[in-house]
């Protein structure tokens, strides 16, 4: 199975407003897929469709199919909870819970019913190591997560997502509220993580997309304009609109 996610004829409406128009994309396994486009183009909305976080918005209605491992996640009685454990998410602003660092990472596994202390410790430590945060916090696991810096908080959120042992990690502009050094660390981390996970990242920075992604999708006004290998998009885009955007003529 080469493509872990297949999006077919996806249309999304907020009440009357159509936010996504007939999107078709296949997401490759163990690759970083970047979603770029100007604000309000629907890329974040698209991302939230992939783990059904749009369910929480009442006025949102979705048509079309998204297949995760060849099963439509929008079919009736689909196990959303299970989907979300397999398709993790990292948000734009770091949003650790107001709990200790340990409890933050252990939150997901605990919700799945893992109570054994030793097992939880193993999961927390390995997740923090994968998120390149362990060395910085190993002496203060019981301290509040909100005492960490912004970049550390975001890596904690990544560790929290990893603790669920997902297959896909969705990242919604994970570095937009971070300084350049913290951003660099997250980017290094993403490069490391793609060996094990499929990553889909929304980003405003085209340099970032160019640096870290294998495939890039360009969204404009709810439409998917172009989807291709990242180097192709940035060197020889097929569409005029894509070229205009990446050369900075609008957006």
């Amino acid at each position: 199975m080469k493509n872990i996610l297949k999006i077919m004829n996806l249309n999304l409406y907020y009440d009357e407003f159509q936010a996504l128009k007939d999107i078709n994309i296949d997401i490759e396994n163990n690759k970083v897929t970047a979603l770029i486009g100007p604000s309000g183009c629907g890329k974040s909305t698209f991302l939230k469709c992939l783990n059904r976080m749009n369910d929480l918005i009442e006025i949102c209605s979705i048509f079309g199919e998204i297949e995760y491992k060849e099963e439509n996640i929008y079919k009736p009685n689909y196990d959303v909870i299970n989907l979300r454990t397999k398709v993790g998410m990292v948000f734009q602003k770091p949003n650790p819970f107001p709990m200790s660092i340990f409890d933050n990472v252990a939150y997901g596994p605990r919700c799945q019913g893992i109570k054994e202390k030793k097992r939880l410790e193993e999961i927390v430590i390995s997740s923090l190591k994968s998120a390149a945060l362990y060395e910085e916090v190993k002496d203060r696991m019981k301290k509040s997560a909100l005492s960490l810096s912004g970049g550390q908080q975001q890596r904690l959120c990544i560790a929290r997502a990893i603790a669920m042992e997902p297959e896909v990690i969705l990242m919604d502009e994970p570095t937009s509220s971070l300084d350049p050094i913290a951003t660099l660390r997250i980017e290094e981390l993403i490069n490391e993580l793609k060996k094990k996970y499929t990553i889909i990242i929304v980003t405003h920075s085209m340099q970032q997309a160019a640096r870290i992604s294998d495939n890039t999708a360009f969204f404009l006004m709810g439409e998917l304009i172009e989807f291709n290998k990242t180097d192709k998009i940035f060197t020889t885009p097929l569409q005029q609109k894509t070229e205009d955007y990446i050369t900075g003529r609008f957006g």
């Binding site: 783990n51 929480l56 909870i81 299970n82 949003n95 819970f97 107001p98 709990m99 997502a161």
Partner: protein
């Protein structure tokens, strides 16, 4: 900046300062009034004494060994002392302002230490102590010494007698121990009933209820209830909870349980409102983070949202406790106005604020004792405030 803007700025600032000072001065004056009226009667005895004085009728043995203790130097000038009987008496006023004769000193070898209970078949010994009130000593050969003749006459009469027929004395009384205990019972029981119901209702309304017309109707109904005069709830308590508790428990009249139930109903809207407000300010990012981790709605609510809202809920609870301590109108019906010393949750009694009400309804009103109780209420509220602040601070420090 234009001149006009400057004038507007000055005007707005002046208004702010004026309003703030009026508010602060008013509050300060209330506290000053209460303290200046109440501080005189404020002592430890008030807090631990019974309200109803206990009376003792004492008789004395035929063989009396008189005291040899000379007047101690540390006695006040206004104390009248009898060396023969080894006792010092003083004129005073009780908390209601009536004259009393108080035992200021009693010598170890005083014959008055060997009196027996005349009301008791077994003639058990009685213990006359410092602080007791002497209300009457009757003699075989002269006029009875009563409180109204004063301490001086009582000492003279004692000195000129070799024995007496009967001595009547009492404990001081007028204490508010019973009312304090009732108040704490009521706080505990009301909170035990109202907090879980209120908090879970708020959780339902804010986290689970569908956002439709019925929910918003329910919410406006709850908000309307906060404006209903508490005396209406008191009548409801009298009509519903008092008969209910009489049916179901050993109570025979209005009681602490019916009072707690009534207060719980009064507090429900307050608790629901404040809990909902604290749930609303929990950032949605916490909820989405939790859901994105595969937690279900219930787990999200109880593991993330509720703990984050906890400091706010604590503050709301404190306001509710303040309401319990301060409520009087509803309780007059739902718990009764009888000041009691032996408190049972199945019987009538008064809280501190109803105690104030019963002091103020008499003619003449006992403003001094009422103010003293008000001071005590203020102190309890202040103490609770400090405790809750301390706990929330510690919690917030752990959380953030």
């Amino acid at each position: 900046m234009s001149n006009k803007q400057k004038i507007i700025d000055i005007f707005q600032q002046a208004l702010t300062y004026l309003a703030a000072s009026v508010g602060a001065i008013t509050l300060f004056m209330i506290i000053f009034f209460v303290f200046s009226n109440g501080y005189k009667l404020l002592d430890f005895g008030l807090l631990v004494n019974d309200y109803h004085a206990k009376f003792y009728n004492g008789g004395i043995e035929d063989e009396i060994s008189y005291s040899n203790t000379i007047r101690p130097n540390n006695l006040d000038d206004e104390v009248f002392y009898s060396q023969k009987w080894g006792i010092g008496l003083k004129d005073d006023n009780d908390r209601e302002g009536n004259p009393i004769i108080i035992v200021d000193f009693i010598a170890d070898d005083s014959p008055l230490k060997n009196i027996y209970d005349k009301n008791n078949e077994e003639y058990e010994p009685l213990l006359l102590e410092t602080g007791h009130l002497l209300s009457k000593i009757s003699f075989y050969d002269k006029q009875t010494a009563l409180t109204k003749y004063g301490a001086e006459y009582m000492i003279e009469a004692l000195n000129s007698s070799d024995t007496f027929r009967e001595i009547v004395y009492s404990s001081l009384g007028g204490g508010i121990r019973g009312s304090i205990i009732t108040t704490f019972y009521l706080i505990g029981m009301t909170m035990a009933i109202a907090l879980p119901i209120g908090i879970f209702t708020a959780i339902y309304l804010n986290e689970f209820a569908p956002k439709n017309k019925i929910t918003s109707l329910l919410r406006s109904l709850i908000e309307t209830l906060t404006g209903v005069p508490s005396i209406i709830f008191g009548l409801m308590g009298l009509a519903v909870f008092v008969p209910l508790t009489i049916q179901m428990t050993e109570a025979t009249s209005a009681n602490i349980i019916s009072g707690s139930l009534t207060l719980a109903v009064i507090l429900l809207p307050v608790i629901i409102r404040s809990t909902e407000e604290s749930l609303k300010i929990v950032p949605d990012s916490f909820r989405s983070a939790s859901l994105a981790l595969g937690a279900n709605h219930t787990q999200t609510t109880f593991k993330v949202v509720l703990p984050s809202a906890f400091p706010g809920i604590m503050t709301g609870t404190l306001l509710a406790v303040g309401r319990v301590i301060g409520e009087s109108a509803a309780l007059i019906f739902a718990i009764g106005t009888a000041v009691k010393d032996d408190i049972s949750i199945f019987g009538k009694s008064t809280t501190l604020s109803v105690h104030i009400w019963s002091l103020m309804k008499d003619e003449p009103a006992n403003i001094e004792l009422a103010s003293t109780i008000a001071v005590i209420i203020l102190m309890i509220v202040l103490l609770l405030n400090i405790i809750v602040k301390f706990i929330s601070k510690k919690l917030i420090k752990d959380l953030y």
